[in-house]
Structure formats: structure tokens, C-alpha cells
């Protein structure tokens, strides 16, 4: 501090010939592929969007004009709506670097509970639905408590609760469906999300709208609220999040509880979609929801990806199934194609992640 300005200037004279560039972290000039990689890294939803658009075009050509009708496109939306809603719940958990194998089991159990209450026991339908929402949230919270309090890996916890909820579902329902006609008669509100309206040939069910709404609301929560930032922070690095003052256990429990609530919502929508209350349906719904999330570009390692990706992931699966069926391809090969989709999606995700390395 005591140096005179003059002497300082003298020292600095030696700098005139030195490199004047400021510190930079750019590597050597990017290849065109590197540009794509970097672009996809900063826009994680672009991969599923591109795949969705491409598959629409390909199947539009392969499957003929029956594919590109408003009716068929709205049908795809309808067919993916339940798995889509489950995928929304799944995305929340996966963003925290967890996984939830129990989503579909919670959903089916809640549909059976609301049906059992409203149809078999004659409880007012609104009360039965409320009960399913409360119990669904509690079921999710149970997962969260086991993960945070007992420090068990989410995979193990939800593997356990999947079995538990599935067994309860079979016990409660006696593995017997509740008929569509009985629901119509006793509690038509349970089938509310099966209602639909037509816009120019398209048949839009309320369930399809519900799915989109769930995604929009969650997208808002995840990107525009502190809660959402915390979800990403925990998924990215739980310890760092904790050091930054986030109450991670409390956050995780809230995420699992919200996922449970969404599963109860999916339960209500599923009654409208399937017509009856069917304890045997959606046995592989958990894996299908994970498929949608993974194809949607949400990283299984947590903290990265947009929830909208899961919506596109679910739609990609729906487009593939519809397109392959209309092209007359055997079911066997549909399963085969979805398998490759999953592997390719994760491979692309790994490749994109290398940008930050």
C-alpha cells in the first residue's frame, strides 16, 4: 500500500509484451458434434423432443394415413395418460437421485380403496376419493420416512413397499375387478376423467388434460420455486445441499409424499381410463413410468433433466406402440423396440454428461 503509483507503473511496463487475454475455460475449438453435445447439455429436453418429432414423421410414413388422424393422435394421448401421470411422480423421485418402484402399486391400491369404499361399502364417492388422496399421500410419505429415517436406499425401500402395497391390493379386492356398470350406477364421479369432448375429430379425455396439467404445475414448482431448486440441489449433491442449509430429510419426505399424492390422482384417472377398477392392471406400471422418465432424458443419477422430458418420454413410447401396431408389427417387436429406446436414451444421456467432465 505504501508503493508509489510511479514505481507500480514501472513494474507494469514489463507486462506490455505479455499475454493480455483473461482467464478462459474454453477448450480447443469445438467440433460440430461438440457443438451439438454442448447444446443438448444446456437444453436437456431437446433430445426427447427431437426423437418425438422424428418418430412422428417416420411412423406417419410407415403406418399410412391412419396414423396421422386427429383421432389417432388423441388416442395416443389417452393411452399414455396414466403412465404419464405416474412418470411425473417418478420424475420427482428420480430428480432427487432416488427411484420409486411402488408408484403403480400405490395407484392401483388407491383405486381399489376408493372403489371398495364407494361401491362395496356405500360411502359417499367424494369421501372415498378424499380417503384415497390422504392414504396415497401417506403411502408416499411412508417411503420418504423409510428413506430418510432408516437411511435405506430408495430402491430397497420401494421394492419392499411395492410388494406390500400389491399384497394389500389383492387382499382388499380379492383380486376381483369392480365392474364398470356398477361404478356408473353407484359412483359415476369415479369415472370423471374418462369423460371426453371432441375437437375436429380428436377425442380428448379429461384424463389427457389432467396429465398435461400435472406436468405444467410440476414444471412450475420445479423451476420457479425454492422448493423446486432444492429438489435439484439434493439430487445433484445431497451433502452439499445440506451444507448449504437445505433440510434435506424434510425435503425428501415432502417429495415422496407429493409423489404419493400424484399416484392417488393417477388412481382416479385410471378408473376413468380403464372403466372398471381392476386390481390386476398396471402390474408393470412402475417400470413403464421409469421407461418414460429415462427416455425423457432425466438422469437416473439425479439433479439433471426437465420434468417435461418425462411427458415427451411417455409420448414417444405411445407413438412407437401406436405406429408399430398400425404398421402391423407383432407385439413382440414393439417390446423389442422399446428396449432399444431405453438403452439409446441412457447412452445419449451419458454422452451429454461428458460435457461437464
Amino acid at each position: 500500500m505504501s508503493d508509489t503509483p510511479r514505481s507500480a507503473a514501472e513494474y507494469e511496463q514489463t507486462l506490455t509484451g505479455a499475454d493480455t487475454r483473461v482467464a478462459q475455460f474454453e477448450g480447443p475449438k469445438r467440433t460440430p458434434l461438440g457443438h451439438i453435445q454442448h447444446f443438448l447439455h444446456s437444453h436437456p429436453t431437446m433430445v426427447p423432443v427431437i426423437v418425438l418429432v422424428l418418430s412422428l414423421i417416420v411412423f406417419g410414413i410407415l403406418a399410412g394415413d391412419r396414423f396421422f388422424t386427429p383421432f389417432n393422435l388423441s388416442l395416443i394421448l389417452q393411452q399414455v395418460s396414466i403412465i404419464g401421470i405416474l412418470a411425473a411422480a417418478q420424475s420427482l423421485i428420480i430428480l432427487t437421485a432416488g427411484i420409486d418402484l411402488s408408484v403403480a402399486a400405490i395407484m392401483v391400491l388407491m383405486s381399489v380403496i376408493s372403489g371398495k369404499l364407494a361401491i362395496t361399502l356405500g360411502v359417499p364417492p367424494s369421501l372415498a376419493l378424499t380417503a384415497s388422496f390422504v392414504l396415497g399421500t401417506l403411502a408416499g410419505m411412508l417411503n420418504g420416512l423409510l428413506v430418510t429415517r432408516l437411511r435405506l436406499p430408495p430402491f430397497i425401500v420401494t421394492l419392499g413397499t411395492w410388494n406390500i402395497f400389491f399384497a394389500l391390493n389383492l387382499w382388499l379386492s380379492g383380486a376381483q375387478s369392480i365392474r364398470s356398470q356398477d361404478i356408473d350406477q353407484m359412483a359415476p364421479i369415479l369415472k370423471f376423467f374418462g369423460n371426453s369432448f371432441r375437437i375436429g375429430g380428436a377425442n380428448i379425455t379429461y384424463g389427457s388434460i389432467l396429465m398435461v396439467l400435472v406436468f405444467v404445475v410440476l414444471w412450475y414448482m420445479l423451476t420457479r420455486t425454492a422448493w423446486g431448486r432444492h429438489v435439484y440441489a439434493i439430487g445433484d449433491d445431497k451433502e452439499a445441499a445440506e451444507l448449504a442449509g437445505i433440510r434435506t430429510d424434510r425435503m425428501l419426505i415432502s417429495v415422496y409424499a407429493l409423489a404419493g399424492f400424484i399416484c392417488a390422482l393417477a388412481a382416479w384417472a385410471s378408473i376413468g381410463r380403464v372403466g372398471s377398477i381392476s386390481p390386476q392392471s398396471f402390474y408393470e406400471g412402475n417400470l413403464q413410468s421409469i421407461t418414460a422418465v429415462v427416455i425423457g432424458g432425466i438422469s437416473l443419477f439425479g439433479g439433471r433433466g426437465s420434468i417435461m422430458g418425462a411427458l415427451f418420454g411417455a409420448l414417444i413410447v405411445g407413438v412407437f406402440q401406436s405406429g408399430l401396431r398400425l404398421a402391423g408389427v407383432d407385439v413382440l417387436w414393439q417390446v423389442f423396440a422399446i428396449g432399444w429406446l431405453i438403452i439409446i436414451a441412457v447412452a445419449i444421456d451419458q454422452w451429454i454428461r461428458k460435457v461437464s467432465a
Binding site: R66, N72, L75, Q78, Q79, I82, L170, W171, G174, A175, Q176, S177, R179, S180, Q181, G194, S196, N203, S270, R273, V274, G275, S276, S278, Q280, S281, F282, Y283, Q321, S322, R325, L326, G328, D330, V331, L332, V335
Partner: protein, 342 residues
């Protein structure tokens, strides 16, 4: 009810004529029932049938079940403990037709009578007998009924078949190919679904035997051809799902749905005109006749024989419909409701 008595009598004829002459109830005959699961109403009914028959004949019955469909280990352990407890016979619905053969062989080597219920082993001779529904006949009945119901229109039928899953297991192809045979379609290889070239077939899809799968499959096939007017379904839950899909496009009244099973919700759907006809099977009868066969074996050493021309003992199929057609015996949905399972 007549058929049921008829079957009971024929079983008596086959296995128990000597039992009537045998000395009255030997004490302590033990039997085991091992079902696929204990939650499916089909197996619940089976267990009830076995328990009632065991109580009636003074037989000590142990019941076991796999934890879920496909659970082989639990069934093997159950068979081993049955052998160890010295039972005279085991009734088994195998979770895997091949994987349980060694356990069954072990039981038979120990002098235990082993009867398969509902699902045969591969090969069927690996067990002493199989008491099962003739699934091919179940399909033939609904196929013939549909052809008669459509009359001259049968020549222009547009048929969708909603099957079980991509693995083409025996119950799946037997029912499907039976239906096609009954309807008058050349099935080519009767163990393969989908090798037919009859232009009346719009397509096949799989349902996993539940409502959700039935609905989605029906929607997909309607996309392929909206004029479908006859739908075969692997079971009644799939049929209920198909009906929902038809209802969503307003076609529920001009499409005939046929199915197989005889579960109570399914028969109720026949009563309400949702399913045109269904072939009913009798899980309770399989079990009660199985218990009677074990009793006969314990008392006289005589083993049950197969139905003529089949490699199993047919426990009967009954067509349930409220629109009976000439020449195909059937019962009404009201009679069906009195005998349905689940």
C-alpha cells in the same frame, strides 16, 4: 346342474367304482393342495372346493400356494413338505409346467398320487393325471355360437382377437384356435396364434388378461379397422376392457364380444348384454373331484383315467348366454350366476 352330476358320475365310474366296495373310511388319509397363488378368485374357489370335499370325506387337507404367479420355489418347497408329512395325494396347479416336473417325480417315487389341476405339466404324463378345463372346446363353443348368431353375416365378419401375452402359452392358443375352429376359420398350425390368412381376421393384440390391456388392445385394432364386428377375448376382464373401448366410440351395440372363464363379474356382464357368450370353467369341481380321486387311490390304489381322446380328465365347460342358438347346449346367465366362481 345336469352336466355336473354327469361328470361326477363319470369320475366315479373312472376312479371310484372300487372305492364303493372298499372298507369304510380308512382313518388319516392326508392330501395336499398347492395352488399358483392364494389371491386369484379362481384358486380361492379351488381351495374352497377342496376343503369342502376333504371335510365331507374326512380327509386331512393341507393347503399351500405360491406367493405370486410364476413362483416355482415356494411350490417345490410345498411339495417337499407334503411328501415329508406322508400324504396320499397332491393336487397341484403348477406355476411352471416344466420346472415342477422333478418335484412331482420325486413325490410319485414316494408313492404319492399327483394330480394337476387346471394346468398340465410338460409332458402331461409326468403327473398321474390332469383335471382341467378343455380350453380348446371352450373356444370352439363360443366360436360356434358366434357363427350361428351372425348367420349369413358370418361370411363377412370382421374379427379381432384379444389374446393373453406374446409368449403364446397353451391356454392362450387353445382358446384362440378353438374359437377360430368353431367359427369356421382354417387355423393352420393349431398351436400358433396369428398364422391364419383368413381375410375376416382384422388382427390380434395382447391384453395381459386385464381390463386395461383389453381396452388398449381394442382401441388399437379399431384403429386398424373401425368396422370390426366380432371380438374374441382370452378372458372376461379383457372383454370388459374391450367393451369400454367400443363404448367410447359408440359401437358397443353392434359388436359381438365372446369370452372364456365364468367368473362372476363376467357372467354378470353376460346378463347385462355386454358379453354375448362366455365358456364357463369349474375350478371348484376340479378340486373336489381331485380330493375324491385321492381318497379312491388311498383306499384302493386305483388311479384316475383321462377323458376319451384327451390327455387329461375334462372337468367340463358350459356355454353361458342369454341368446341360445339351435344345436349348441347352453345355460342362461341366471343359471350361470349360481355356479360362477369368484
Amino acid at each position: 346342474m345336469e352336466l355336473r352330476h354327469g361328470l361326477k358320475l363319470s369320475l366315479m365310474g373312472a376312479v371310484a367304482s372300487a372305492a364303493l366296495l372298499a372298507s369304510p373310511a380308512v382313518a388319516d388319509i392326508g392330501a395336499c393342495l398347492v395352488t399358483k397363488t392364494d389371491t386369484n378368485p379362481f384358486f380361492v374357489k379351488m381351495r374352497e372346493g377342496a376343503q369342502a370335499a376333504a371335510a365331507e370325506h374326512g380327509i386331512t387337507l393341507q393347503t399351500h400356494a405360491g406367493r405370486l404367479d410364476g413362483d416355482v420355489e415356494t411350490q417345490i418347497a410345498a411339495i417337499e413338505s407334503c411328501i415329508a408329512s406322508g400324504v396320499s395325494g397332491i393336487l397341484l396347479t403348477p406355476n411352471d409346467s416344466r420346472a415342477l416336473v422333478p418335484a412331482v417325480t420325486q413325490a410319485r417315487d414316494n408313492g404319492v398320487l399327483v394330480i394337476m389341476l387346471d394346468t398340465p405339466l410338460e409332458p402331461p404324463e409326468a403327473a398321474d393325471s390332469t383335471f382341467a378345463t378343455d380350453n380348446f372346446l371352450a373356444g370352439v363353443l363360443i366360436g360356434e355360437w358366434a357363427a350361428a348368431q351372425m348367420g349369413d353375416d358370418a361370411a363377412n365378419a370382421k374379427i379381432a382377437t384379444l389374446d393373453l401375452n406374446p409368449s403364446q402359452i397353451s391356454v392362450d392358443y387353445l382358446r384362440n384356435q378353438g374359437f377360430m375352429t368353431g367359427f369356421g376359420i382354417d387355423v393352420k398350425d393349431p398351436t400358433v396364434i396369428g398364422d391364419e390368412d383368413d381375410p375376416r381376421i382384422v388382427g390380434h393384440d395382447v391384453t395381459n388378461g386385464n381390463e386395461e390391456g383389453g381396452r388398449t388392445a381394442m382401441e388399437n385394432l379399431l384403429q386398424r379397422d373401425p368396422a370390426i364386428n366380432l371380438v374374441y377375448t382370452i378372458n372376461e376382464p379383457a372383454a370388459a376392457g374391450a367393451y369400454e373401448a367400443l363404448r367410447s366410440v359408440g359401437r358397443q351395440d353392434d359388436v359381438i364380444i365372446v369370452s372364456v372363464d365364468g367368473g362372476c363379474p363376467g357372467v354378470q356382464n353376460v346378463a347385462e348384454g355386454i358379453i354375448g357368450a362366455t365358456s364357463m370353467q369349474f375350478p371348484l369341481l376340479m378340486a373336489s373331484m381331485g380330493i375324491e380321486a385321492i381318497k379312491a387311490y388311498a383306499e384302493t390304489g386305483e388311479k384316475p383315467e383321462n377323458s376319451e381322446g384327451l390327455d387329461f380328465f375334462n372337468t367340463g365347460v358350459e356355454l353361458v348366454t342369454d341368446s341360445p342358438v339351435e344345436g349348441i347346449p347352453s345355460i342362461t346367465s341366471e343359471e350361470g350366476l349360481a355356479r360362477c366362481w369368484g
